[in-house]
């Protein structure tokens, strides 16, 4: 047919330009695979990180708390430097077992024959239907990720009185985000006896703002015909059944669902890949190769990860293994076992820890395996009595710290695996410090908002004041990533800088003209 595209041969096709896809593509390119392409369905590259404006990314890889857009930018810049092509608004609609990739794009239907395919499609959120919450279906019920996109990218306020169901990290992050923007988070409701998210998020997103955490509870009814009017929450018994007499009605206008992430495997299923019932992702070997030779999976499409650092590390393994696969197939020796061996050797060469049989290497933090340490420091004077326990929020390990006054007048801090834990404890007891991330409105840009951060942590007690100070500021496009927008915020010694770039809109004076694709 005249409009049909002819088949395009590529050594490697990477599906998705989030952290996994970028790291895999960079690894491929670094291994000498030049004929590759990254396919991205969005009109911007970088995946989900662009809406994750909070800090906490790269704590392992870069040993500093980056925001999502900052973490993404490092990989995007690297990919650009290496000349890796990323095709935007390209949606893969079909994948065959022999690595044919069918794409729908504004420039036509495209058909790739790939030597190797790397699946890096990420994950999606479990919707309400999947957990069957009884009640009505009015406006005001959103998944946490959708809420995050609307608030952080679209400048839309989703509600004022909010109940969060589930305690996944995105839900916790949104609890803080919405509180800082003036909403009231009435409760975080979790069916399990413990929070789902990382300890650092429980601490700085929920406890910092005195948001009630209802463990072993669930929403048993949603009320409201047009907009959410209230929820009923009930306590759950050991079998997960609501306990009679514990129902409590909470008037609210919004429900945010943070009830789990599922690997995005429509394409994997289509290609006939067997999925692991535990992870929901394709079954892979230690080199991330799926059961179909030459098709690799990495990042959240393989298994939902807590940390982007782990995603990147896993994607590097997949990229190297895919390069090894290409070398071998070119040499006429296609074989999964040897490709795996090459990847393992590569990983080992990169100074990685031993690979567990049957699963990609678990990332080990340098300090995770160390014994908890103990310090005696000059006595800490606090307004309130010393809390028995603290959870360190500096890195994702979340060490459990114990603080104890000694008879000598000194204070003992124990439980941390590194000195940062001791420093954190001292700060937390005297002057808790937090990095503030938020957004600012942009005039004349291609996006309505720019994400910003404080360059360093500021006192927790100053967060509200800082938000008020920031609220009256408006930025004019273009904005460069890293650009200082407020110098020395409130005299606290921290600047407010842009964490992403916002180019000027092509049409002058227009604040929201945006390309549709």
């Amino acid at each position: 047919m005249q409009h049909m595209q002819h088949m395009i041969s590529k050594q490697a096709v990477v599906i998705g330009s989030g952290p996994a896809g970028l790291a895999a593509a960079i690894a491929l390119k670094t291994a000498g695979i030049d004929d590759l392409v990254v396919l991205e369905r969005e009109k911007r590259p970088g995946g989900i990180l662009s809406q994750c404006i909070h800090d906490g990314f790269g704590l392992i890889r870069y040993r500093q708390p980056l925001t999502g857009p900052e973490y993404a930018k490092l990989d995007l810049d690297n990919a650009a430097r290496l000349g890796i092509p990323i095709l935007l608004s390209h949606t893969v609609t079909r994948l065959t077992p022999d690595r044919q990739v069918y794409v729908t794009s504004p420039t036509g239907m495209k058909h790739f024959q790939a030597g190797t395919v790397i699946l890096a499609m990420g994950c999606r959120e479990r919707p309400r239907g999947a957990i069957s919450i009884p009640g009505t279906r009015p406006a005001g019920i959103l998944t946490a990720g959708a809420a995050q996109y609307l608030v952080n990218m679209c400048n839309l306020m989703i509600g004022k009185q909010i109940v969060i169901l589930g305690s996944g990290d995105i839900g916790l992050i949104m609890a803080r985000r919405l509180t800082l923007e003036g909403a009231r988070v009435l409760a975080v409701v979790e069916k399990l006896p413990r929070p789902g998210g990382l300890p650092r998020n429980v601490r700085q997103c929920v406890e910092d703002f005195q948001i009630p955490f209802l463990l072993k509870h669930t929403i048993t009814k949603v009320e409201g015909t047009r907009r959410v009017e209230a929820v009923t929450v009930s306590r759950l018994d050991a079998d997960g059944t609501p306990v009679e007499g514990t129902a409590r009605r909470i008037p609210c206008d919004t429900i945010i669902l943070s009830v789990g992430l599922i690997p995005e495997n429509e394409l994997s299923l289509q290609a006939g890949l067997p999925l692991d019932s535990a992870t929901g992702g394709p079954v892979t070997g230690p080199d991330c190769q799926t059961r179909l030779p030459g098709i690799f999976a990495c990042g959240n499409v393989r298994k939902v990860h807590d940390l982007v650092d782990d995603v990147t590390e896993e994607a590097k393994i997949a990229g190297r293994a895919a390069a090894a696969f290409l070398r071998e197939t070119a040499g006429g020796q296609p074989g999964m076992a040897s490709a795996a061996a090459a990847a393992v050797a590569d990983a080992a060469a990169a100074g990685a820890a031993a690979v567990e049989a049957g699963a990609p290497r678990k990332i080990t933090f340098s300090s995770r395996d160390q014994k908890p340490l103990k310090w005696e420091i000059p006595g800490i004077k606090t307004r309130e009595p010393l809390p028995a326990n603290l959870t360190c929020i500096i890195c994702p390990i979340g060490c459990s710290l114990t603080v104890r006054p000694l008879e000598s007048g000194q204070t003992e801090i124990s439980g941390a695996r590194c000195v940062r834990g001791r420093n954190y404890a001292v700060d937390e007891l005297t002057q808790p410090m937090r990095i503030l991330t938020t957004t600012l409105p942009v005039q004349g840009g291609t996006a309505p908002l720019v994400s910003v951060r404080t360059t360093r942590a500021i006192p927790r007690e100053s967060l509200e004041h800082a938000m008020q100070e920031i609220r009256v500021v408006c930025v004019k496009a273009p904005v460069a990533a890293g650009e200082v927008i407020i110098k020395d915020l409130l005299g606290l010694g921290a600047d407010v800088t842009a964490t992403a770039e916002v180019p000027a809109a092509p049409c002058e004076g227009s604040c929201s003209i945006r390309q549709l694709f």
Binding site: R124, E125, S132, P134, M157, R226, Q443, V472, C474
Partner: protein, 495 residues
């Protein structure tokens, strides 16, 4: 201001829209008044979408006649209106020996109603037709089909609109007065005057009738809850499968329905309720649905559920009596030119083609029905990119690059389709309206991915302010405003 209409129809459900579309053949000035934000937002959008063959109706009733004839005409009707329809056939399954006699009785009633090709089949033939279904015997009904009930209602409304009928959404009727030979109808803030009125107000038809003094009708709302299952399940089922109905129940029993889009529905339950618009689902019924559906389809799992919803039947027969009443479609005794439609529950969808004609016959005695030479019966169906061949897809993208942008990944809906839906002729700008017209947000992620994109598009292409974006009309706003309202004082921006 209060212009004189020939006919005002109250209710834009499938009955009201079928009547509007049928009457739009004639030189009549007409308006449809609807309290919700779109057509098909009530009973018509919340059912199984099954086009019934007619064996469930009591022989000799208005229902039986309309259903059997409606079923025969349905395929051609849908083709004319550009609406999906599939003649799937149906199985009514006997789960145990006690179901065998009622199954035979059902078949006898069907034969008396004139339903063709009904047959009782044994387990072997059943397994051949539906290998994953339990049960010991079944009746097969080859004439039963499925349609998309909301797309049909919207198709009727759009075709009526194309033929000159005016639609007023978010216009709840609150008062009707007779003035000589005309009626004055208060709807929302507006007053309408009309020579004739059709009360097709569904769940509220008894109350609308009472506004004009016809106070003898009482409807009993009977809620039916449904589950929607992932498309994975459609590989296990080819046609709707029902149990043998139990006498005295308000519905046809919890059944499995294949939809035109490849999902499977479980439901509906039957529960008499007090509040007419309580579309809430309940924990107890949801559990019961799951258990009953597992009897019919043992392979189904809980993780296959992607959504739940409820519809409410406008029943003329209360809980104590049980079962079904006949449709009431007649001119008011006291009010000439005022036609009431009361108790239009199942099989109202199947009967819709006949309901339109039936009401036209009644009104023909009051109004001159002069055929319009320019009546256009055909509605061009919206483009369904996902159903096109690769060659057609390539051609579509070449004609408009917006066909090359997938906005809803689960259902493979393109930007062009969404923009077309946002520009629909009825002027509906709600998220549910876009969902019903495109299937965007109806897939397994339930809008987690594309809902924010729909919101962006409504703002960017339709110029909606944040506060104007609604799920389903006034009161269902999604946003309280902007997060940041920078007070910029520069000269280029005034916001």
């Amino acid at each position: 201001m209060d212009h004189l209409y020939d006919v005002v129809i109250i209710g834009a459900g499938v009955a009201g829209c079928a009547i509007a579309r049928e009457l739009s053949r004639y030189r009549l000035h007409m308006a449809v008044l609807e309290k919700e934000s779109d057509a098909g937002m009530g009973i018509s959008g919340r059912n199984s979408g099954v086009v019934h063959a007619g064996f469930n109706c009591t022989p000799g009733t208005l229902k039986a006649g309309m259903c059997v004839e409606g079923c025969r005409r349905f395929e051609a009707w849908c083709r004319e209106l550009g609406v999906p329809y599939r003649k799937t056939g149906k199985l009514v399954v006997a789960l145990g020996n006690e179901d065998l006699a009622p199954l035979q009785a059902l078949m006898d009633a069907g034969v008396r109603n004139g339903v063709q090709d009904l047959r009782i089949i044994g387990p072997e033939e059943m397994r051949e037709m539906e290998p994953h279904i339990g049960g010991i015997a079944a009746m097969t009904s080859p004439w039963t089909g499925v349609t998309s009930p909301y797309e049909l209602t919207i198709g009727l409304a759009e075709n009526a609109h194309a033929n000159g009928v005016e639609f007023y959404f978010s216009h709840p009727v609150t008062r009707i007065r007779r003035e000589g030979n005309t009626y004055r109808i208060q709807a929302g803030e507006q007053m309408f005057r009309s020579r004739a009125v059709v009360n097709a107000a569904g769940l509220f038809s008894d109350r609308v009738a009472a506004m004009i003094g016809d106070d003898t009708y009482t409807l009993h709302p009977c809620r039916g809850e449904y589950y929607i299952l992932d498309k994975r399940i459609s590989a296990l089922l080819h046609r709707p499968v029902y149990p043998v109905p139990r006498p005295g129940e308000g519905g046809l029993g919890v059944h499995l329905t294949t939809t035109v889009d490849g999902n499977v529905l479980i439901g509906p339950s039957a529960e008499y309720i007090e509040e007419r618009e309580d579309h809430g689902t309940t924990r107890e019924v949801m559990e019961q649905l799951y258990q009953e559906a597992r009897q019919l389809l043992p392979e189904m799992e809980r993780k296959d559920i992607i959504r739940d919803y409820a519809g409410i039947r406008p029943k003329l027969v209360g809980k104590k009596v049980g079962g079904f009443g006949d449709f009431i479609i007649r001119e008011s005794d006291k009010n000439p030119g005022f036609v009431n439609l009361i108790g239009i529950e199942s099989p109202g969808l199947t009967s819709a083609p006949l309901i339109g004609e039936y009401v036209a016959d009644i009104l023909g005695q009051r109004l001159p029905l002069a055929v319009r030479p320019d009546f256009q019966p055909v509605r061009r169906p919206p483009v369904r990119f996902r159903e096109a061949s690769d060659e057609e897809k390539a051609r579509l993208i070449a004609s408009d690059p917006a066909y090359g942008v997938i906005v809803c990944r689960c259902e493979e809906i393109t930007l062009r389709e969404v923009l077309d839906a946002m520009n629909n002729p009825l002027g509906v700008r709600t998220l549910t309206g876009i969902k019903y017209r495109t299937r965007a947000m109806m897939g397994r992620c339930q809008g987690g991915y594309c809902l924010p994109r729909m919101v962006e598009l409504l703002q960017e292409t339709m110029g909606l302010a944040p506060e104007e974006v609604t799920l389903k009309g006034p009161g269902s706003e999604l946003f309280s405003g902007r997060v940041k309202t920078g007070t910029c004082t520069c000269s280029t921006c005034s916001t």
